[in-house]
Structures are given as C-alpha cells and as structure tokens.
C-alpha cells in the first residue's frame, strides 16, 4: 500500500515548503500547496477506508527507515494500516483538508498566513505518524509531534500574553501525561522485551496474573503497565485532572480548535486505548479506572459547560465531556463504540467549532455569547450548520428508525455501559446527556435567538468605529484586531467581565502573584438579559464561500455518519468483520447492548428532550431565570463558573511551590550552603594560606600548573625508575 507513504509525507513536505516560503512568494502559494496536499491525502485515504468497509483490504505494514537499535531494543519507522488506522486516516485527512480550506477565509487578513498553514500541515503529519505507528516509540513521536504543533498553534498569535501562557500550559500539562506514557513504554519493554505493538498485544494475554515491582510496591503487571500508559492518554485527551489545558487552548485561532482540540489530537488517547485494547483487556482494574475517569470527566465537563459564556469554551468543555464518553465506552470493553463516537464526534464537533468560528468572524471576534443574539437571519448558512451540529451532538433521533450522528454513537455508549454491568457509568452518561442537551441549546438560543445584544460589545464598537473612520470596511485587518486584543487586554476584560480573558492561569511567571492578576478571574455574573439590547447599527455578514463549504460538508457528516456507519463500527453481526482484530471487539457485549431495558434505551432521548425544554424555558421563555438561578445558588454557580477551582488549586499546589522551591534551592542551597562551605570557604583558607606565604599574585592558573608539574615529575621519576 504505497499510497500511505503519500498520505503521511505529503503534509510534511507541504509544511516544510510553506514554512520556508519567503514572504516575497506571497501567501497564496504556501496556502495552495498545503491545502492541495491535504485534499490529495484525503482523496487517497477514502479508498483505503472503503477497502476496509468492503472487506477487500487487509492490515499492512510499510517499512520506511531503521530508527533506534540498542541491545535488544530495536525499532523502525514504519506505517501500519489496518481498520483502526483507516478510520483515523479519513477523520484526520478529511477534517484537516476542510480546516485548511476554511482557513483561507478565516485567516484571510492575517499577515502570517503561510506560517499558520505550515503549522496545520505539520500537525497533520504528526497525527498521521501517530495513528500509523507500529510500535510505541513511533506512537510517542507522533504524540509529541502533535503536542508541538498544538503548542505552536495555540500560541500562534504570539503577541498575546494569554495565548503564550495557554500554549505553555498545554505543553507542560501534556508532559505530565507523557511521564506516564514514557514509564509505560519502559515497563512494557522490560516485560515484553519489545515495543512492537502487534508483538505486545500477542504476548499480553499470557502475562495476565503476573506481578511486578514498581516503586516501593508490587502489583499486577498488566495493571501497572496499562495505568501508566493511560496516564499519557489522560493528558492528551484532557481527562479529569489533566484537562486544565484544553479550555485555555481556545486562545488559538478557531480552525485550530476545530482540527486539533476537537476532531483529532484530543482523541489520540482514545485511539491509544483502542489500539492497545487486548492489553487493557488483561487488567480489569485498569479498565475500571478508565471507566471511572471517563465517566467523571464526562460529568465534570458537562457541568462546567452549562455556565461558560465564551462560545469556544462551551464547545471545549463539551469536547472534554464527549471524550469522557469515549473513554468509559472503552473502559467497559466496547472499543468499537468508543471509536464510533470518536468518528461521528469528529464531524459534528468540527462543524460546531467551525460554525462558532463563522459566528466569531461575523461578530468581529466577539466570543462572549451574551453579546450575541438574534443572529439566525443575519448568518443563515452558519445557523443551519450549527443547528445540524447541535441536533447531532444532542442525539436527536427516533427510536427504531434512526437519527443524527450522536443518536447512534452516544446512545450506544449509554446502552453498552448498562449491558456491561456498569449501570452507574450508564446513568452518569444519561445525566451528562441531559446537561449536553441543555448547554448545546443554551448556546444556540443565546447566539441565534432573541434580540440582538451587539451594541454593548467592545469588539463591535471597534468595528463600527473603524468603519466610521473610513479606514476599513467590514473586512477588518484580523491581525490588527488581535494586536489590539493584547494591548487592551486588561481594560477590555474588566469591562466585559468575560471569564475567558482572565480565566487562564499564567502558569510560569516567577512571581505568580505579581503578574497574574488574572488568577482570581474578574468574573461578572451579569446575566445576558441585563445587557442592553440593540444592534448598534452593526450588520453581521455571512462568511465567505471558503468557510461555508466546510460547514456544508461537515453537516452531511453530522447528519449521516451515525446512520450510515453503525453497521461497520458496532453492529455485532458485521463489525467484527470490519475491525478484523484491529481492536478487541466483543460481539457478545454488543449483542447484550440491544437487550437492555427499554427505559435505558429511551433514556438518552428523554433527557435530550428535557435539556432542550429547560434551555427553552430559561433562555427564551423567561430570560431572567438564569440570572436568578445564579443569584440563588451563588456558591454552586461560582463553583461551576470557575471550573471547580482546578486552576486555582493547581496554581497553589504546583506552580507557586515550584518557583518558591527553585528560589530557595538557588539562594539557600547553591549559594548559601554549597558555595559557602565549598569553594568560598576553601577560598578563604587558600587566601589566608597564600597571604602567609605572600604569594597571592601567582594566580590560580599557575598554582594549578605547578601542582600538575609536581605530579608529572613524580610520574616521570617513577616511569624512569621503573
């Protein structure tokens, strides 16, 4: 299968060309090369996927180059393609190609466009290396490569302090996960004497029941290995505890959020667990932990999502929550269902993000939903796209007939969790589905329904001001706009009271208390309905065609991907033939899924309707209700608004102590102890001794040379004498 070489390496070549393209080439050439490369990769990926759907393709491994060989440790660069990889290939290349296209419109006025497109393509390359990995080291290469691209893209607007802080935070928090991943790789090599994935998976079942020493205790071998590897997955997929970087990552341009922080990179953890599923199957303890973390994240993120006012942050928490669903599906052994949700989620979440980007574009980079309202008629295509995305994520469908993407994939997870004997996880999933429906419709109602509340937005006022000055038309210089953001950050944030501007944690300032005014977020609980109504004379425009085409294409995916593909991903009779062992597929469990009580099968639909109803009642019928609720339950509201205080806690536990201990070790350790009693102390002795001898001027170099000379004389004497 040589086409895989093109799929993987064309984005790399495109990234290099675009990255090195001199500014004198203009931005069009790099944009065309990267976008063309990705559409080519996508066009080559679909036939591979279809080949697996029809059963024509078998798993292949294409060797590329020798990599590391040390002792019995021997790994090569190689591209593995099986059903699991094929699913990821189409997701990655298709979404990436569409995001590239979308960025033609979204980034049109940015002076650094070629750099942006180079990063996007570089990311795609790294992600493809990750999913085609045949050994854990190459997977780790892709894993870190996507981390690098994510860091660069979150910090793309590098003049903004908040973007830089978010970029570092994303990288460092991911590294905490990578610590686990690396130790997992070391342990795996120690136990299996190889890091080749097929070899490990073949040997894993026979290692069940063995024990191994780790730190100061002994434990079940496979449990230790799986948990260590899963820590890596938790970091990359933003699971509870290591999730704090994901909402901040929204500082990056919106196409990045769609590609990296929704459809592809953050699902790498799910992919890893599925890829290693025969290994996880040998440890019920590890599986239980995966289920627990998945369910907890699913619930946590959904609760936070209900209170955020920044449109991208709502979708980010939604992503976090949906990743939780995927993990608990994997945790109960339904890897096919996890991959199915990953697949459908990629389409509808990318759609929601790109739709949000289109809204932001129309609203002149205003991201606070409280300043939206009534946009339904102003930007109709965006509205319809986001509506379909919302129908997909909330899982609208008719029992026994079919429905939007989420109806097939999310409901399957709730049912299979029940069937696998984890009713608690199943119920958590149902409750999170209620919240999902609520926050998704809240987003829709705040944005597209009601009266316009645009006049009060600073961004809109700037736009109007600029237009009035005649310097710019609506087509505003995006870069200028962002530079402005950085300048007027403080004032702007204070006036808006927008949680997002200050919610981030400036993780690495030496004096956190000094710069990090943002640490106690200046959150103002002003309800959306208290914001003055009116358009202020502003006319939002629908986005350009380059941005609308991806929305339309992804809408098709959001509508149909569940209905069309469940046959291959989860149906017990047919899915086993599709996966062909690429992941552990439990036919029995998938049969059981259809035997769960009717109420469980209907639960997701019932809560979906309830969430819609609650959102309708509170955001359309009685718009004063949310503010009243927030006032009445102020502690709860604050707890959710401030994201369960994770950032504050981590800041207090890790960031501040790291800097304080660093300073302590430097001044009290190096200077106060080692130097004082070491060289400085002995220097004093030497000085006194030298003064007595009256030979201070000789200098240390000469003293040193003198000592050496004595030594040499001794040696030579001995050598001659001997």
């Amino acid at each position: 299968m040589t086409s895989i070489l093109f799929i993987v390496f064309v984005p790399l070549v495109a990234a290099i060309v675009a990255g090195f393209a001199n500014k004198s080439f203009g931005a069009t050439l790099p944009k065309a090369i990267t976008t063309g490369g990705l559409f080519l990769a996508s066009a080559l990926s679909w036939p591979i996927f279809i080949g697996f759907l029809t059963g024509a393709n078998e798993a292949t491994v294409t060797p590329v180059l020798h990599f590391i060989h040390s002792g019995t440790f021997d790994v090569s660069w190689a591209l593995r393609v099986d059903a699991l990889t094929a699913v990821m290939l189409v997701v990655i290349t298709s979404v990436s190609a569409l995001v590239h296209l979308y960025s033609w419109g979204y980034m049109a006025e940015d002076p650094d466009q070629s750099r942006f497109f180079a990063y996007l393509s570089l990311f795609t390359f790294a992600m493809l290396m990750l999913v085609t990995a045949d050994n854990l080291i190459q997977m780790f290469f892709g894993w870190e490569g996507v981390g690098l691209a994510s860091y660069l893209l979150i910090g793309f607007w590098f003049r903004k302090p908040s973007a830089n802080a978010a970029a570092i935070k994303a990288f460092v928090v991911n590294r905490v996960g990578d610590l686990g991943f690396m130790l997992g790789i070391f342990g795996t090599y120690l136990v299996f004497n190889t890091v080749s994935i097929p070899a490990i998976l073949a040997a894993a079942p026979s290692m069940a029941g063995s024990t191994i020493g780790f730190l100061w205790f002994r434990a079940d071998t496979m449990t230790v290995l799986c948990l260590l590897l899963f820590v890596g997955a938790m970091g990359k997929s933003a699971q509870l505890g290591l999730h704090t970087w994901l909402p901040d990552a929204m500082e990056g341009p919106t196409p990045v959020s769609a590609l990296i922080h929704a459809a592809t990179m953050v699902t790498a953890g799910v992919f890893m667990v599925c890829r290693l599923s025969p290994m996880f199957q040998t440890s019920p303890t590890a599986m239980g932990f995966v289920t627990f973390i998945g369910a907890a994240t699913c619930l946590f993120a959904a609760t936070v999502g209900t209170t955020q006012t920044d449109i991208k942050r709502v979708i980010a928490y939604s992503t976090c929550s949906q990743l939780g669903y995927m993990f608990f599906a994997a945790g109960v052994g339904a890897y096919g269902a996890a991959m199915f949700h990953l697949f459908t989620h990629a389409f509808f979440k990318a759609l929601l993000f790109l739709g949000a980007g289109s809204v932001i574009h129309a609203m002149h980079h205003e991201q606070d939903m409280r300043y939206y309202g009534g946009l339904r008629k102003a930007i109709p295509i965006t509205f319809w796209g986001m509506l379909l995305g919302t129908l997909a994520i909330t899982g609208v469908g008719i029992y026994g007939v079919g429905g939007f993407a989420g109806y097939h994939s999310k409901d399957a997870i709730i049912e299979v969790a029940w069937a696998a004997g984890s009713p608690a996880a199943s119920m958590v999933g149902v409750f999170a589905a209620l919240l999902t429906s609520f926050y998704s419709w809240r987003l829709m109602f705040l944005t597209f329904w009601g009266e316009p509340r645009w006049a009060a937005s600073e961004h809109i006022q700037h736009a109007l001001h600029d237009a009035h000055g005649g310097a710019h038309d609506h087509a505003h210089d995006a870069h200028h706009d962002h530079a402005h953001d950085a300048h007027g950050h403080e004032a702007h944030a204070a006036e808006h009271g927008s949680a997002h501007a200050h919610g981030h944690d400036d993780a690495h300032h030496p004096d956190p208390a000094g710069e990090d005014a943002g640490h106690a977020p200046a959150v103002e609980s002003r309800g959306f309905n208290e914001i003055p109504k009116g358009t202020g004379g502003y006319h939002p425009h629908e986005s350009p065609v380059a941005m609308l085409i991806p929305l339309i294409v992804l809408s098709i995916g959001a509508v149909a991907s569940g209905f069309v593909f469940h046959h291959w991903f989860i149906d017990p009779e047919t899915a086993g033939g599709f996966w062909k062992g690429a992941l552990y597929f439990n036919e029995h469990l998938m049969h059981e899924m259809h035997q769960v009580p009717l109420l469980v099968q209907l639960a997701a639909t019932i809560v979906m309707l309830s969430g819609l109803l609650i959102a309708y009642l509170t955001y359309i019928r009685s718009p004063e209700a949310p503010a009243k609720f927030a006032d009445t339950f102020q502690p709860l509201y604050q707890f959710l608004l401030r994201k369960w205080y994770f950032d504050e806690l981590y800041h207090f536990l890790f960031v501040r102590p790291a800097f304080a201990i660093g300073r302590l070790l430097w001044h009290r350790g190096d200077e106060g102890t080692i130097d004082r009693f070491g060289p400085n102390g002995s220097a004093w002795v030497v000085q006194v001794g030298s003064r007595v001898a009256g030979r201070l001027q000789t200098g240390y170099v000469y003293t040193y040379a003198f000592v050496m000379l004595i030594g040499l004389t001794a040696a030579i004497t001995w050598a001659i004498a001997g």
Binding site: F67, I68, S70, F141, I168, A208, P510, N586, V701
Partner: protein, 512 residues
C-alpha cells in the same frame, strides 16, 4: 602501522596554535579557521574509515618515549564519536568569535587551538599518564579563556573552577599511580581487563569519581558551572558545554565501569541518588533564573544527570543512551549558547527581561532557537530524545523509582525552556533597542544551520551514531555483566488468567 591520522589531528591545531602567536589578528583568525576545518575534514575521514564492528582499538599508534611512558594513541567507537563532536564544534567556535573577540585575538585563537589538541588527545590517549596530561591540561586554556576574555566577574569564576578541579585531580592522580604500580602497566586497554580486588576497587573508584563528578558536573559539585558559563565568552561556553562536560562521562565509561565493575555496582546508589537530586534540584533552580546563560548552565547539570544514570544502568540502552545524550547535549547546548551569543552581541545583556518579541523582527532566529529549545526538551525527532529515552529506559530496568524521579525532568525541562523561549521570543517587542536588532547574519546562520542539521539527523536516523559504539558496548557489558544489579521490577511469569474482578465480558468476546 598505518597512517598516523590521530597524531596528525593533534599536530595540525598544535602547529597552528603556535603560529597564531606570531600573526596579526586577522591572519590568526584565518589560520585558526583553516586549521579547525582541516581537522574537521580529517575527522570525517576518520569516521568514514572507522571499521564498524571491526577491531576494538583502531588507528593505534605507539612510540616509546622513556621507561614505560609511551606515545600511545588509539580509539574505539566512543572515542571516535566524541572526537568527531569536538572537531565539528571547533570551527563553529572560531566562527562565533570572529567579531565578538577584539582584544588579544592571536592569543585567543591559540588558546582555542590548544584546547582542541588537548581534547582530542584526551579521547585518543591509550596511556594512563598521557591521558592524565591531556585531561588536566585541557583546563588550562579554558581558565585563560574565562580569565582573560571573560565577563566582569571572571576571576571569581575561574578560581571556583580551579578549586573544584584541584582536589579531584590529586585524588585521581594518586589512584593512577597506585594502579600503574599494582598492575605494572600504564596501558589503558590492558587496565580495562585487569581485575583489582573489590575492596581496592572501591577506593580507586571513589578517587576517580572525585575528579569525574566535578567535570560532569554532578550535584552538589556543580556550582562552578553556572559561574564559568556566565563569565565565559560565547565560544568558551560552547566548547565548555559541548565537549569539556563530556570528559567526566567519558571518564566513567573508560575507567570507572570497565576497571572497577564491582565497585561501580556497589556504588550505583550513590550515582543514582546524586543524579536524581540533580535532575529535580537544578531544573527547579533553572526555572527561576533571570540570566539566560545561567538557565542553560543549570539545564546542563540536569541533562548530565541523565548521562550518569544511564552509564550506571549496566545495560546497552543505558550506556548507549548516555553516549547519545552526551553527543546530543554537546550539539544542543552548544547551539543554545550560540543563540544567546547572537542576541548578546546585539544588546550586550544576558538579562531575560530585557528581551521580548524577537519573533517579530528576527523570524529566522526564532525558528532556529525554537528547534534547539525543542531538542533540549527532548522532543522526538531531535537528538536528545533518542539519548534520553534509551538512558531512562535502561535506568528503569535497574530502579523504577530513580527512573520516575529522573523522568520528571521532561516536565520541568519543558517548563523552564518554554518559559525562557516565551519571554525572549514571544510577546510584543520589548523596547526600541530590541526593535533595532537585526535577524541572523549569514555568518551566524552558517554557525547554527550545521548544528540544526546534525540535531535532526541524530533524531531521525540515530543508527549512524549508534552503530560505531555497538560493539564497544557489547565488550563493556561482557566485562561488567558479573556485577550487574538485579533491578527492582522482577516480573513473574504470567498465569494467562485475567484476575477475576469483573471480568464478565471478555469470556465470549471474539479475541482480536
């Protein structure tokens, strides 16, 4: 006996060093550049003609001087790679000093060329005392470079360096005398196969350790390094970090492990303990530095700790990983010091807070600095990743606890390097002075680009570097295997039965 290429590699810079003293500043620059480039060419020839998998010692030369004292040279794979690293960095150092050094240029160039002679000599020496001369004398030009061409506080820095080195050297010398008398030979290859009684080994090991630990440097004898780096001129820092810090690691590899295997195994706890402390301690200290050079100096201590744990892991991954970290760190930290030098030459300050927003007016610089920052963090695809993962993997097989503690370095390393990069390169342009800074000149680009290429080469296809040392590692492991520590993992054989917690679902699943 074949062509004496090693002697020639010593003779060329030595002759040029003497010649420089009698030349004008400009002529001295060109002479030094020509000599180092000639040595680089010879280094390439050496590498290409090295017979991978052939005899352990190649390019052997021997000429008796007097008594048992002989001119004995010869290299194995480890020495080959370190010599190649030295001759690769040398022309870059000369280029970095082209404009930055204005006073006493001939003497400066002469000092650098002598450093090259002594470094190559250290790696090529096969006689115990010849090694000692090269090893210790190598520091004299370094003293001079710091003491004459250094910064404001150069005298303090150089005497601190001296004080640390003195004690270790004396102890090592005494140990060497004892060894040569007891074993009745000064030949290093012979000593590498000589078995000292275990209790004697311990004392000898400690004596060598005193010298090598300072050179590494290991915690807590590391405090000379930040001062030396801060005061040294850019090229001095490059050669200090790039090659001189590798002398300690090379010493452990050449002496401590093969000559005292029992003592090495017995004192693994000491090396592991000091290294684990070093990784965490110096990384945290690096986090709070406001001086760029100090920050990178502290990061060097943390990286060198990864070398020492790998060396004493007693397995192929650990030892080869340690060598790869040495090579990778030589390139990357050298390049990072060059990056600091580039902006120091423009603004004449190492204070991080004076910079900001360089990505705007120095995009090419920002890109290369990013590459070396990422390499320092150990991103896969760069040189340091290969070394770090092998070294830590080797360590895990001996002690999971130490492996865990040292792997935290990947988190802390990312924190301090990205924090540095953010403050210097990102953000708005800090001041008008910063705005006036120009992007890399062609000369500076030519200094950094070859290192960048080497860093990526080592990261993507490390086989070129692993192959020459594979046989040497096997020989070394065969020698020290008898003392290998057991490790704390000790997995038992599996039963194949999944523990029965809630394993109700897998029974009937279609196994993959």
């Amino acid at each position: 006996m074949s062509f004496p290429i090693l002697s020639l590699m010593l003779a060329i810079p030595a002759a040029a060093a003497v010649a420089c003293l009698f030349l004008s500043a400009s002529a001295a620059r060109w002479t030094a550049l020509a000599a180092t480039l000639a040595n680089l060419a010879l280094g390439v020839v050496l590498w290409l003609s090295y017979d991978v998998g052939g005899a352990q010692w190649q390019f052997v030369e021997y000429a008796p001087l007097f008594g048992r004292f002989g001119w004995a040279l010869g290299i194995d794979g480890y020495a080959l790679l370190l010599i190649v690293l030295s001759v690769f960095l040398m022309p870059i150092c000369i280029g970095a000093s082209w404009q930055a050094i204005e006073k006493r240029v001939p003497e400066y160039m002469s000092a650098f060329l002598f450093t090259e002679v002594l470094m190559i000599g250290t790696f090529a020496a096969q006689d115990l005392f010849l090694f000692y001369i090269f090893f210790e004398a190598g520091l004299i030009p370094m003293f001079l470079i710091i003491g004459i061409w250094g910064g404001a506080n150069r005298i303090y820095a150089s005497y601190k360096f001296f004080l640390y080195t003195l004690l270790g050297s004396l102890l090592m010398f005494i140990a060497m005398l004892y060894m040569s008398i007891t074993a009745a030979t000064t030949s290093i290859p012979a000593l590498m196969n000589y078995d000292f009684p275990p209790q004697v080994q311990t004392w000898l090991w400690l004596a060598f350790f005193a010298s090598f630990a300072v050179k590494m440097p290991m915690w807590p004898v590391h405090t000379w390094l930040p001062d030396a780096h801060v005061q040294a001129p850019t090229a001095g820092s490059v050669i200090l970090a790039g090659v001189l810090l590798k002398l300690g690691g090379y010493g452990f590899l050449r002496f401590s492990l093969p000559m005292f295997p029992e003592a090495s195994a017995q004192l693994v706890w000491l090396v592991f303990g000091l290294s684990a402390v070093a990784v965490i301690y110096t990384s945290l200290v690096a986090l709070v530095q406001s001086d760029m050079k100090k920050l990178i100096a502290y990061s060097s201590v943390a990286h060198m700790a990864i070398v020492t744990i790998g060396l004493f892991a007693f397995n192929a991954q650990g030892i080869e990983g340690a060598m790869m970290v040495m090579l990778g760190h030589g390139l990357v930290s050298g390049a990072l010091f060059l990056c600091v030098g580039v902006i120091y030459d423009r603004l004449h300050t190492r204070e991080i807070s004076r910079y900001g927003g360089l990505a705007i007016n120095m995009p090419r610089y920002a890109l290369l600095f990013l590459l070396f920052t990422m390499a320092s963090i150990g991103l896969p695809g760069t040189s340091n990743f290969v070394g770090e993962i092998l070294s830590l993997m080797g360590t895990y097989q001996v002690s999971t606890t130490v492996a865990l503690l040292c792997t935290t370095g990947i988190i802390l390393g990312a924190a301090y390097m990205l924090y540095l990069y953010r403050r210097v390169v990102f953000g708005e342009i800090k001041s008008e002075e910063v705005a006036a800074m120009s992007d890399l000149s062609p000369r500076e680009l030519w200094l950094l680009a070859p290192i960048a290429a080497a860093v990526l080469w080592m990261g993507v296809y490390p086989e070129s570097f692993l192959a020459p040392m594979r046989k040497d590692t096997q020989i070394l492991l065969a020698r020290i295997d008898r003392a290998r520590p057991a490790g704390d993992s000790l997995p038992t054989t599996g039963t194949g039965i999944v523990p029965a917690a809630h394993a109700e679902t897998h029974a009937q699943g279609s196994a993959h």
